[in-house]
Symmetry: C2
Subunit: 497 residues, 2 copies
């Protein structure tokens, strides 16, 4: 019976927020976002960051938050908290206030830090419209163009304005917010700062609001991201490039040997055939069903990439992301094109990246690749071979690995996951899209590990937002949805058990 | 009995020329070579070429030759002839008077066109010595440093001075000499000029005096050279580079596919495994014995190249040159090193050269490679694929082939070959080194084809002459040997049947 009443209340709130009130709040959020976008936020400029912190400190304080700056080795972080009640669970939201640097000359507006409102005309061109249009009926497809419109200032503003429409009694959790100031620089100082402030940041759940929702535009929960490690593999031929007439057919060609090594690592469909590479990854039927349920359109992806067939590591796009990759990101030996010379090259190099999943320890994968290369008769060094080494070894390679950025993945049945699924479902009247792991890498793993709390990414912006590029933008309809999403999260009780 | 007397006469001549007379003639040749080297000979400067032609016209005329310039589309050629008797066979000598351009700053002497005489001191450094040293006892290891000292002015001077020591009665052939003026620019106008002057140039044998003798320093006959053809092979992935997080394991990686294609063309020992690639090449025991008899030192080659093992196309260095090569001379996809980016590249390209032998028609080999690539499921284009082609074909490559420079090879038992082998043996008291085909490509094939005469390369200069490079040089002992070689050729009757 109580549940029944609660459901009616929730429904009422939703209805009211889907209507005029929500449009009114969207208007206010647009005004505040426009203001916030006018403050440049290049992480390399400490003054930029401080200006954003000052603005946002006031904005959070206005909503009753207690704020403080958290020192790091570089730019400070902004922390804000609103403790509703000690017996409520605490949710920590992570967002970032810094943005990618801009090259003004490449933007279709005078200043990337002076946001403009645009709509698409009948020729699918973006034309600027007056901000006064916001006062009338808002078209959710209009967009705000400016640096950090989507990455990552909109979610911050949406959180503030969702709170503006809630009273303390509606909010079912204590709210903590950490605003990163160096996300676009890799958040290299974040984890250490967290470790120094574990009491301040302690929480029961971490929600990361960054990145785009699924391309379909539907509410999306992302339960993890792949990590990355990289290495360079070089194969050695003669000590110097040799005349291909004098030595073609005699001097070992390092480019052919590198090709043979690389070819031996994968089958024709792109699956790694090094023994053990996919060990530990076992997708059960339930997991496969979750992956298959994501409304990716192969036709759309193939059309976008202009490919006929994908690699077949998984049977669909989401499944392919559950496995570590082994990707040649660059290849070089001597010259091609007009610079090509009639030589047997001295060296051939492949730059490789491996996207990691939780089952694939980077050291283990690198060791597997290394053992595979050794099994082909190679001496593997971490520097140029000496003359003696060259004379005494038929096959020589170098493998230079760089550090890894680790993956994270939260169980889809964990309490935080069920809570968020329920919150979205009851507020949007549909199941969210569940992304078990996203393909890209967010440098969050050390931060999450330092906090030691379950984490889920709740993205908020449109996928076609030109993130990191000129003409970054956010669709206005996504601001409304972001506020709805925050409201859903804040008003749905989280049972952390 | 007559043969016996002839042998004695020859012996007498040799003895006398190996002694003081030869040293005296070497002195004179050095003086003339020094003069000739003082005339710059960059083929790009018509005036340079004309100055060399003027000097050499006089030099040949002084020896009783009739000279004329032969027009080409560019620099003229210098032709000289001395018809001894209509009933004698005619030998045409090919040499070139032009030289590679110079970068003075890279030479260890003030001016590459002001030759200097050097000897190696106890620290193996080259030190300049006074030209007056030539008047005393000549050390054959002294060297003359200057542009074209070895490539190719020394042979011209050696021919002139060998003639200075012969009377008309001793010379067993009519002598024709064609001096190329654009060899370093690829002799692109030579064949056409020859075709316009077939009567003038008609001969029974063509001797090409260019390039170095075998590294052992022994008299060398080279019966051919490999040709060359080249192509670029590109494999296509997504239309633009894609984020390796979002699309690693899904977007087909063109670098891996290129590696797989290339790897499928050769075995681990460097042998081409495309069916038919080596068709027509059948080295009989006699040929194998000739190849094995060349005193190449694998240890020396391996030490020079700093390799442990060669490819195994042939069982020795000379044998490997009897086969067409398939050499990756360049490889490129996206970036390696500091520029490497976390992408799935859009394209991967290999630049390949094929050294040709007479059995390997370039069109046939290119077709074999093409068929091989098609057999792997590729659509092969000669331009970028369209969007439609990308969407409709799982594997797309381009193959852009460029024209070929053809090989030539004269039978080692042809009359010209037996004549030259005999001439060297009787004059040097040892068999010459027989190079069935050299690995590099000399653009002589169209010239030889236009003349339609059997041709053999009789090289004259030291292998360590820094040809085409700064500090080009010739060892003085090789001048003496060159004069001996010309004398051997001119005084040994050629039976052209």
């Amino acid at each position: 019976m109580r549940l029944y009443i609660l459901a009616i209340v929730c429904f009422f709130i939703n209805v009211s927020l889907q209507g005029q009130e929500l449009e009114k709040e969207t208007r206010k959020a647009v005004v505040e976002l426009r203001e916030l976008l006018s403050i440049p936020n290049n992480g390399l400029n400490a003054k930029d960051i401080q200006n954003n912190i000052d603005y946002l400190s006031k904005a959070f304080a206005k909503r009753g938050f207690k704020t403080q700056e958290i020192e790091t080795l570089s730019n400070p972080l902004l922390f804000a908290e609103w403790i509703i009640s000690d017996d409520k669970p605490t949710v920590l939201f992570y967002m970032h206030l810094d943005g990618q640097p801009v090259d003004k000359s490449k933007w279709d507006q005078a200043d990337p830090y002076t946001a403009v409102l645009k709509r698409q005309n009948d020729n699918e061109e973006w034309e600027t419209i007056n901000w006064t249009n916001i006062a009338g009926e808002i078209n959710p497809d209009w967009r705000i163009f400016g640096r950090s419109a989507s990455d990552d200032k909109m979610p911050i503003v949406a959180l503030l304005h969702s709170i503006d429409n809630l009273n303390k009694g509606q909010i079912k959790c204590n709210i903590k917010v950490i605003l990163d100031s160096e996300e676009e620089m890799g958040s290299v100082n974040l984890a250490a700062a967290v470790k120094n402030n574990l009491d301040v940041l302690s929480a029961d759940a971490l929600i990361i609001n960054d990145g785009p929702v699924h391309i379909s535009g539907e509410p999306t929960l992302v339960f993890g991201c792949r990590g990355i490690t990289t290495f360079h593999l070089s194969v050695y031929g003669p000590v110097k490039p040799q005349h291909s007439g004098h030595y073609g057919n005699y001097a070992p060609n390092p480019a052919f040997r590198l090709a043979q090594l690389l070819a031996s690592m994968k089958d024709e469909d792109g699956r790694v055939i090094i023994d053990g590479y996919y060990d530990g990854i076992d997708l059960d039927d339930n997991t496969k069903a979750i992956l298959a349920a994501v409304p990716d359109s192969p036709d759309n992806i193939h059309n976008l990439l202009q490919i006929n067939q994908p690699e077949l590591v998984g049977t669909n796009y989401q499944e392919s992301l559950q496995y570590p990759s082994l990707n040649i990101r660059g290849l070089k030996s001597a010259w091609v094109g007009a610079q090509a010379r009639t030589i047997v090259p001295d060296i051939a190099t492949a730059a490789i990246d491996i996207r990691l999943v939780p089952e694939s320890d980077p050291d283990r994968l690198i060791a597997l690749v290394r053992n595979h290369i050794e099994s082909k008769g190679y001496l593997i060094l971490d520097r140029e071979p000496t003359k003696e080494e060259r004379l005494n070894n038929p096959r020589i390679a170098t493998m230079i690995a760089r550090g890894a950025s680790l993956p994270f993945r939260t169980d889809l049945d964990a309490p935080i996951s069920n809570w968020l699924k329920g919150a979205i479902k009851s507020n949007f009247k549909k199941d969210p899209i569940l992304i078990r792991i996203m393909g890209g890498t967010v440098p969050m793993a050390p931060f999450i590990k330092a906090l030691n709390v379950p984490a889920v990414i709740v993205p908020m912006v449109n996928a076609d937002n030109n993130q990191h590029s000129p003409n970054e933008n956010v669709r206005i309809g996504y601001i409304t949805n972001a506020m709805k999403t925050f409201r859903a999260i804040l008003t749905t009780p989280f049972d952390k058990r």
